[in-house]
């Protein structure tokens, strides 16, 4: 399957991936200004930019072959799509946070996205196939994120 791969040497830590990710998963996927100015709560990015000194690295769900989140989910909300992405069914999710604890990479967030709504497990869904490239890849200014088949990426 195609996955997002990170080239740490080129990551600037600018955080544009977070902004485009958060916007795409907000109520206003087409407008960053609306997503940030009109949403009741701050839009949540599904990925995290880790920084240490001069190094930076944008990290998101690895869509593991052995997904601990999927195995641990008490509600059966985490499932694998036909394309191989590991995603959360938000209707089924009960916001218990078990997957957050189970993820060895710490790449699942537990947040309330709607005012007064329930807690949800939020994670990368590879933009659900709704755009040609995942938003973070499409908008990375330095091609630090690439969209590749697993085999190609191993040869990188």
């Amino acid at each position: 399957m195609k996955k997002i791969y990170i080239r740490k040497d080129y990551c600037l830590g600018c955080g544009l991936c977070e902004i485009y990710c958060a916007t795409f998963h907000s109520r206003y996927p087409d407008s960053i200004v609306k997503a940030y100015k009109l949403s009741a709560s701050k839009p949540v990015s599904r990925l995290v930019v880790e920084k240490m000194g001069d190094d930076a690295c944008s990290v998101m769900c690895r869509h593991c072959r052995e997904p601990m989140c999927l195995y641990s989910c008490i509600a059966g909300a985490v499932y694998r799509t036909g394309e191989g992405a590991v995603v959360v069914d938000e209707d089924r999710c009960v916001g218990c946070g078990t997957c957050v604890l189970a993820c060895p990479y710490g790449l699942i967030k537990k947040e309330k996205v709607k005012e007064g709504g329930k807690f949800l497990a939020l994670k990368c869904d590879l933009c659900g196939g709704k755009s040609e490239l995942p938003q973070c890849v499409a908008n990375c200014p330095n091609e630090a994120l690439v969209w590749r088949e697993e085999e190609e990426a191993c040869a990188m």
């Binding site: 600018c14 902004i19 100015k37 330095n142």
Partner: protein, 493 residues
């Protein structure tokens, strides 16, 4: 000393209706213009630090930022203009030589823009480059008159453009990688500048011209043998008569290893070569290099365009150089005294025409190839340079602009936000060589198409037909003297 009289040169205008306080501008500005204010809980800015490099504008995801020239003006005075007054404030405050980067920015005439190209109409057919092949291949090196003589070493270029000398130290390793890669892909050459060839780039050595300059940094017999050609640098257009100084803080591990100097030591290139005080001395170095490379590599000599350039070039040709590089007064630099950059040297157009003419008159034009440098901005400049007598051109500034340079002229600060003129690791990685090399390849492929269009329009199917063909040029708005020196007729004549 009291309060500083310097006011911001640029002002940042942030549209808070669009700003989402994401902090991208904060992370991208190495000059620390943008910052997040904890009390106001929003991103704010300090105008005085802004150098107008446009990094924040390009990166702002909501288009909230504009940078404008500070509209505060001095009382009008055609003599004491703003720059003259501000430079006095700066020097009165610091007591130092004013530094700058890139090429001469003063409004001197640009003679490329005062020359027009010919095209075929009725009496000879123009050629459509999409239907017929047009040859842009170029060979640099000495061409013997007698065909029975063995051909001396030549550089074979797919198009008459090369990347000019910019050292590792003045620019980043990622910039060097981009240039080397692009030169390799394009079938042209790039130049290491004075500072040696980084070991990671040795695989591109066959596309590399290495430079021997007054500091001899990074030079050794292995390097000379590996390279495609060797260039002796006497001077550069931005600062004729001035040496170089790479400050110790830029001499990090990689730079130190490549230059073969101690970590953190200042790399000072003297103004002259202390073993070259005459043409005869130059001849010794040229032949020392030829000996060291078994007479297998062409040797180039680079000089700045100065007043007596024709005689100097004649001497260089007679000293045994295979290629003469002439760098006009608009050539760029990583750092130069402002007063030198803006006031010393002559335009490349005149220097090129004068040298080509002189070498022809002396019957030694075939002994050397001429490479013109110093602000070749587009394919039309290339074609005009060829028609004036150049065999090829060097581009430096144009290549850096393709890599993202926004011409803020602050290269000497080492804080290049585009990852070009810097050695800071977090800035260097901003230039991804995969992207950089592709941009260079695109630029030169575009120029190649345009060069073919212009040649075809003139009814020529080969660059050779245009070389030194000044009948293809006409001057516009030039004086008799300027026309005479350029060796061209006035438009309509």
């Amino acid at each position: 000393m009291g309060i500083s009289w310097q006011v911001p040169e640029f002002v940042v205008e942030r549209d808070y209706a669009r700003c989402i306080n994401c902090g991208v501008c904060v992370s991208q500005c190495a000059n620390e213009v943008h910052y997040f204010d904890e009390d106001w809980q929003k991103v704010m800015h300090r105008d005085i630090r802004c150098v107008n490099c446009h990094r924040c504008i390009v990166f702002c995801p909501t288009g909230a930022i504009q940078i404008k020239k500070n509209s505060t003006s001095f009382t009008f005075n055609a003599n004491w203009d703003e720059l003259a007054i501000k430079n006095i404030y700066r020097q009165a405050e610091t007591g130092g030589v004013l530094l700058t980067g890139m090429g001469n920015s003063r409004p001197y005439p640009v003679y490329w823009d005062k020359m027009l190209l010919n095209a075929s109409q009725v009496t000879n057919p123009s050629i459509d480059p999409l239907r017929e092949p047009i040859e842009t291949k170029t060979f640099l090196g000495r061409k013997p008159v007698d065909w029975r003589e063995n051909l001396p070493p030549q550089l074979e270029l797919e198009m008459p453009v090369m990347f000019s000398a910019m050292s590792f130290g003045s620019i980043s390793l990622t910039a060097h990688k981009s240039l080397a890669w692009a030169a390799h892909e394009l079938g042209i050459f790039w130049n290491t500048g004075e500072g040696g060839l980084h070991q990671e780039l040795e695989r591109f050595a066959d596309r590399t011209i290495v430079q021997v300059a007054s500091g001899r940094f990074g030079v050794g017999p292995e390097l000379l043998k590996k390279a495609a050609a060797v260039e002796i640098k006497i001077g550069q257009g931005a600062k004729p008569g001035i040496g170089g100084h790479l400050p110790g803080e830029k001499v990090l591990k990689e730079v130190a290893a490549t230059r073969m100097i101690p970590l953190g030591s200042d790399a000072i290139s003297p103004a002259p070569h202390h073993d070259i005080y005459s043409i005869e001395d130059l001849k010794q170095l040229v032949f020392a290099i030829k000996e060291a490379t078994d007479y297998e590599k062409p040797v180039a000599v680079k000089v700045a365009a100065v007043h007596n350039i024709a005689a100097i070039a004649s001497g260089i040709a007679r000293a045994g150089a295979d290629i003469i590089v002439i760098d006009g007064f608009r050539g760029g630099t990583g750092a130069a005294p402002l007063v030198i950059r803006d006031n010393v040297g002559i335009p490349i157009e005149f220097a090129l025409a004068a040298v080509d003419q002189r070498l022809r008159e002396e019957g030694i034009r075939n002994e050397v190839s001429i490479v013109a440098a110093g602000s070749i901005r587009n394919s039309a400049d290339v074609v005009k340079a060829i028609a004036l007598g150049a065999d090829a051109v060097y581009i430096g500034t144009a290549a850096l602009i393709a890599l993202g340079c926004h011409m803020c002229q602050k290269c000497y600060t080492g804080k290049c936000n585009w990852g070009i003129a810097t050695q800071e690791p977090k800035l260097v990685k901003r230039l991804n060589p995969h992207i950089g090399s592709q941009k260079l390849i695109n630029l030169l492929n575009a120029w190649k198409h345009e060069i073919k269009e212009m040649l075809g329009g003139m009814g020529m199917n080969s660059l050779e037909s245009l070389r030194g063909n000044r009948l293809m040029l006409r001057g516009i708005g030039l004086t008799q003297d300027e026309l005479r020196i350029l060796g061209i007729k006035a438009a309509g004549d």
